[in-house]
Every structure is written in C-alpha cells, then in structure tokens.
C-alpha cells in the first residue's frame, strides 16, 4: 500500500511539474514574441571562450 501511495504521490508530482513546465514555456513563448515585435531581441551572449578552471 505504501508503494502504491508513493507511486500515486510521485505521479501527482510529475503531473504538477509537467503542468508548471508547460505554463512556463507557453508564457516564455508569448514574451519572446512580444520582444521580437518590439525589436528588442538581443543576440545570444557569446559562448564562453574559456573553460572551467579545475
């Protein structure tokens, strides 16, 4: 029963995360479109020319 409850809880958590991610992605797409219409899209910052210092 514990396992069933745990899997139910984890299923709900996954569904919640899925919904949050979808909402966020949709909102970002909307925002990106607006920035583009305003001519405010900046080029992506250049990839770092240096590597991680170990």
């Amino acid at each position: 029963i514990d396992a069933m409850e745990a899997s139910e809880a984890s299923r709900e958590l996954i569904m919640l995360r899925k919904r949050l991610l979808e909402e966020w992605t949709a909102w970002r797409a909307q925002t990106d479109k607006k920035l583009e219409e305003l001519g405010l899209v900046e080029p992506e910052p250049a990839e770092s020319e240096y590597t991680t210092i170990e």
């Binding site: 995360r17 899925k18 991610l21 305003l38």
Partner: protein, 337 residues
C-alpha cells in the same frame, strides 16, 4: 566547481555586477575601494580610486566604457574604466544606494536614500558613454514614492527601458513609466514587515527576482506585476539572481551579522542556494563563505556565478558539466517532444 577567491575589500560586500559580455566583474563594499576583476580567472584588472565613502552600487554601461557608482559620500559618479578616474559626479543630500544604466545605455537611474528629513527618491539622468563628453548636471525626471508607499530600496529597468521597477522597504513592488516617470501600479509581493533586500532583472528584463528578510525569494512578471514563483528557505535572504541557460535561481543570505556571534559558521546558513526556477524546489547548495552572503550575481552566459560576503570576500564559481547535465525527467521529456 572549485571557486576562485577574490580578496580586494576590507568590509562587507554591497553589490557585484558583470558587464554585458561578462568578461569583467565589478565589486563594491562598505569601504572606499571599487574593484574591477577578470571574471574567468579572478585577476584584478584595477581599482577605481577616489570614492569618499562606503559604496553601495556599481554598474557598467552596455559598451563597458564607463562605470557608475553610488556612495555614502552622497555622490553618484561616472568613471573611465580604462584610467580608473572619475569623469563626472552628481551630488545628493543622502547616500546613493543604487545606480543602473538603461538597457540602451543612454540613461542612468540614481536612487538616493530617504534619511533625516530628506525624502530621497529616484533621479534619472541622460548619460553619454564617452569619457570626454560633458554630462548633463540636471536629471530628466525625479520620482518620489506614491502617497502612503514606503521608501524606495531598489530600482531596475525593464526590457527596452519601458518601465522602472522599484522595490520598497515594506515588501511591495511598484512600476513607473520609463519615459515619463509616471506611476503605473503597485503590488505587495513579500511579507509586509520584512524589507526587500535585492531586486535583479531576468536576462531579458521581462521579469524580476526579489529577496527578502521574510526568508523567501520571488519572481514577478514586470508587465502584469503578477507573482510567478516563490522560493522558500529557512533563513533571511539578502540577494537573489536568475541564471541564463539553466532554469535555476541562486539565493544568498544567512543569519544576520548581529546574531552571528551566537552561532558557528556551520549553522549560520551561509550557503548559496540553488532552486529550480519553474518547480520552486531546492536543488543544491554551495558552501564557502563564513558570513552571510550579501550579494549573488549570475554570469550573463550562464556559465558561472559570483557571491560577495559580509566577511569581505568574493567567490567566483565556474559550473561543472554535471551542473548543465542536471535535468528533471519532465524537462527531458518536454525537450524530446
């Protein structure tokens, strides 16, 4: 993720700021030194000499030609980055707590503190990112808090310089027209009795993150002023930033300096905390400082971050590959779809 320790200040850090490209990191503290560092190796490029007091804020214009600072000597100054010399200075009646260039670099926000009968407020100046130019002495607009609103603590520009977003000591945010200074709206974001301790924009300046003594950091959309996310912690927060590339936010804080003598650094909660920006879960912590973290900033390319402590040290952390590999199952599935 071995950190680089930068030792250039004798007093608590007040603000860190990367330039647009992120090759330079600027730091100010409650001492007179203003430092400029190479962000990849932590080498000091130089210092800006001549500030008359503790410094609270620093920002470089988008072309990294001039730097603005705000100081307890009641000035906002512009500096030539190459020579380290002051090129212009505006005098105020109180401490200058915040300076920020507009996204196009043509305007500067100067936030002066409310103190001893002086109302303080936000002055916006036209600026020229040219070390030989004559700068305008008078602001193009002055903004005071609305009737009944608490004093301004922080101010940032939104995307395109469209709005000025301000944070208040009572945990609220306000929005002003970036061109006219007109008040647009206000909203209570954090708990009222706890001051907001930091305000930073997202990389595209369409939303902001705030940290508070109410032990949270929160995301707010600048268009709707709607609260988007809340990150809950177990201690008061002094700073928060939004990373690019990964959907994380970084929070820093810890027990207040006045209480630190009662605890060891182990339980002072002096760690940088990473939260998933969308899911609001804590995903990791980075130790190192032995006092509260006063400021955290994310590198513009998302490859590293820097933190500044109450103890006077700055730490730069370059992320390991494992940091970039970390994803939730739902994120992996969504990426495949």
């Amino acid at each position: 993720m071995r950190p680089i320790l930068l030792q250039g200040h004798e007093r608590p850090l007040t603000q860190l700021k990367y330039n647009r490209e992120g090759d330079l990191l600027f730091s100010v503290a409650r001492d007179k030194t203003i430092c400029v560092w190479y962000s990849h190796n932590g080498e000091r490029l130089g210092t800006l000499e001549g500030s008359g007091g503790a410094n609270f804020s620093v920002d470089a214009d988008p072309t990294t030609t001039i730097v603005a600072t705000g100081s307890a000597d009641q000035t906002a100054r512009l500096w030539d980055i190459k020579t380290g010399k002051t090129i212009h200075s505006w005098n105020f009646k109180t401490t200058v707590k915040r300076v920020e260039f507009s996204p196009d670099g043509t305007k500067l926000i100067v936030l002066s503190e409310k103190m001893m009968g002086y109302p303080g407020g936000i002055s916006v100046f036209n600026v020229k990112a040219d070390v030989n130019a004559t700068q305008e002495t008078e602001p193009i607009m002055d903004i005071k808090p609305e009737e009944g609103a608490d004093k301004f603590s922080f101010a940032v520009w939104s995307y395109g310089g469209k709005y000025i977003i301000t944070a208040h000591a009572d945990g609220s945010l306000s929005k002003y027209d970036g061109a006219t200074g007109e008040f647009i709206a206000s909203t209570q974001i954090h708990e009222e009795k706890f001051p907001i301790t930091d305000l930073q924009p997202s990389p595209d300046k369409t939303y902001v993150i705030t940290s508070s003594k109410d032990k949270t950091a929160r995301l707010t959309d600048v268009d709707s002023l709607k609260l988007l996310k809340t990150y809950k912690t177990d201690t008061s927060m002094n700073s928060a930033c939004i990373t690019s590339k990964k959907d994380f936010v970084i929070l820093g804080g810890g027990q207040d300096a006045k209480d630190v003598t009662t605890t060891s650094s182990r339980d002072g909660k002096f760690e940088a905390r990473f939260y998933h920006k969308i899911f609001e879960d804590e995903v990791g912590r980075v130790k190192g400082h032995f006092g509260p973290l006063n400021c955290v900033v994310a590198h513009p390319n998302g490859g590293s971050y820097a933190s500044g402590g109450e103890e006077g040290y700055i730490r730069i952390h370059h992320f390991d590959p494992s940091y970039f590999d970390f994803t939730y199952d739902v994120e992996r599935f969504a990426a495949k779809e």
